[in-house]
């Protein structure tokens, strides 16, 4: 009798395993949470010291157009820390790359899901997966040796600039947008297609009026994800954009992005100096922007959830 009570009162082996499993995953979760919070805290504390410790005004930083932190403007007695050229450069390459990549991505994914499923999956799938795996330095190198001379031949000048950056980024974000769009299109229920065809729609009408419409939120999410990748890309862009902290005057003149200025400058500055702090502020802007991209994705997902 006692034995049975004991057995009944004791935790079973499965419960025990369950507890361990839960503890392990909670620990992992907490660790990730701590890392994220720590990154934010560190970048914010460094980035904000530009404004609080060095006394730079936020307006001058965000809307100034001259970037030369090691030189002091004799009139205002403030260093030249206008980050607008880089902010505009970053947004320009990001948007342009997304605009160019989207039609290609939608076309490819339609081919893979609607038009030629077998061949599409056999040929396009591996190609797209391959594109994801290529390191960005390779993209940058190809950009430098192929794209830049090509642009130079067409437009004159040096060939470095937003246009070259856009072309390189377009190829880099294409697989991201494509594979996410494929997933979205695949999740459109089969009976949508069947109903459309049953009431006499052609295949193109079905694709255009039914499938693409109902997949729009998912496609938007894919585009925003692609843009987030483009916005944060550093190495490949740095190699082809020319890195001149000038307000972009044309697509084929050297420009710069937040990431390119950051990676070029961080080794040449002394930790804790103003020149170093302003770079951290650029990093802070990048971090906040990636947060914004994430929030946009969530907002799209919530609003456009397929009913």
């Amino acid at each position: 009798m006692d034995n049975i009570t004991k057995k009944l009162m004791q935790k079973s082996e499965s419960t025990h395993k369950d507890t361990i499993g839960r503890a392990v995953s909670l620990t992992a979760l907490a660790l990730i949470g701590i890392v994220v919070v720590a990154i934010f805290a560190f970048v914010l504390s460094r980035g904000l010291s530009t404004f609080f410790r060095d006394g730079v005004s936020v307006k001058d930083f965000l809307f100034g157009t001259t970037w030369n932190p090691s030189v002091t403007n004799p009139e205002t007695n403030q260093p030249y820390i206008g980050a607008l050229p880089m902010i505009i450069g970053s947004f320009l390459v990001t948007f342009l790359a997304a605009i160019v990549a989207t039609p290609f991505a939608i076309g490819t994914s339609l081919l893979m899901t609607e038009i030629a499923q077998k061949r599409g999956a056999k040929i396009m799938q591996p190609i797209i997966e391959l594109l994801v795996g290529i390191p960005s330095v390779v993209y940058g190198f190809i950009g430098l040796t192929v794209v830049v001379p090509f642009i130079r031949n067409i437009t004159g000048g040096s060939g470095f600039g937003i246009l070259s950056g856009t072309i390189v980024l377009f190829v880099m974000i294409l697989p991201t947008i494509t594979s996410m769009t494929v997933d979205t299109l695949k999740s459109v229920p089969r009976y949508y297609r069947e109903s459309a065809l049953a009431i006499g729609a052609t295949r193109w009408q079905m694709i255009y009026k039914v499938i693409l419409r109902s997949a729009t939120p998912g496609i938007m999410t894919a585009i925003v994800f692609g843009m987030a990748r483009a916005f944060g890309e550093a190495l490949a862009v740095q190699m082809v954009i020319g890195n001149a902290a000038l307000m972009p005057t044309g697509l084929a003149t050297p420009a710069s992005t937040l990431t390119s200025v950051l990676t070029m400058g961080i080794g040449n500055t002394v930790m804790g100096s103003l020149q170093n702090d302003v770079l951290w502020t650029l990093a802070m802007i990048l971090l906040l922007m990636s947060l914004v991209f994430n929030l946009i994705v969530r907002a799209i997902g919530r609003r456009g959830a397929m009913k």
């Binding site: 001259t66 970037w67 030369n68 932190p69 090691s70 030189v71 001379p149 130079r152 004159g156 000048g157 040096s158 060939g159 470095f160 740095q238 190699m239 020319g242 890195n243 001149a244 902290a245 000038l246 050297p254 710069s256 990676t263 070029m264 400058g265 961080i266 080794g267 040449n268 500055t269 002394v270 930790m271 804790g272 100096s273 103003l274 020149q275 170093n276």
Partner: protein
Amino acid sequence: MSKSYRGSIVFTIAAVAVVAALGTAYAMRDKSASNTSITAVGSTALQPLVEAAGEEYAKDNLGTFINVQGGGTGTGLSQVSQGAVDIGNSDVFAEEKDGIDAKALIDHQVAVVGIAPLLNKHNGVKNLTTKQLISIFTGKVTNWKEVGGNDQKIVIINRAAGSGTRATFEQWGLNGAQSTEAQEQDSSGMVRSIVSTTPGAISYAAFGYIDASVVAPKVNGVKPTKQNVVSGKYAIWSYEHVYTKGKPSEPVAKFLNYLTSEKVQSTLVSKLGYISIHDMKISRDVNGQVTRK
């Protein structure tokens, strides 16, 4: 075989593999910690020399390990000031860098590096005066024909702001004038390849980077050569500094002696494109005062 049984086998194998990997890593770990390890961080221009010398030195002094990393002049100076590393490599005097307490650092000059303007071959210019260089880099002159070259737009390619090479070029090549905002590139190798392929391009790099793909013009009629730097005729050069925080510890001092020894200076230094400090017939202080030795 039941599922959970298979699971536990997989788990055991994984655990054994992890333990074995850690064990191997531990057995093969870098034992330098138990001996002597010297860490040098900073200037990428000086990195090849310290690296090569460090390897040679470690061969002769078993148990000593010289760990050399790049990161840039700013990183080198700030890390050594904080005491995080033993040696900070720099292209400029510590006094010239903002935010560094230069008094706490001791300067050891280990080499000299000459810097020359680089031109694309098709610019048609063989000589540039300081005045012309200044007007080119400040953007007053925008076509090569204005300085005696071909009808070709000038494309300026700078090194990153704060780079030692750029600081040296602006101080001694442009008499302290600031270059106008233009393209920036991260490394001398990149600069050379862009100059060689871009019509109308001008940049600057250390002598070691001059090759047949680009033109290094005379400056004020003086050829950028080692002899002209040594004799003081050619002004665009800088010391390569190795900084220590306060007096170096004994192993570090020994390595620094090795760096400036005749053996290293006469072989490695010239092989890697630097100029030996022993050859210099002049010396220059932080304020730019030149004295004959």
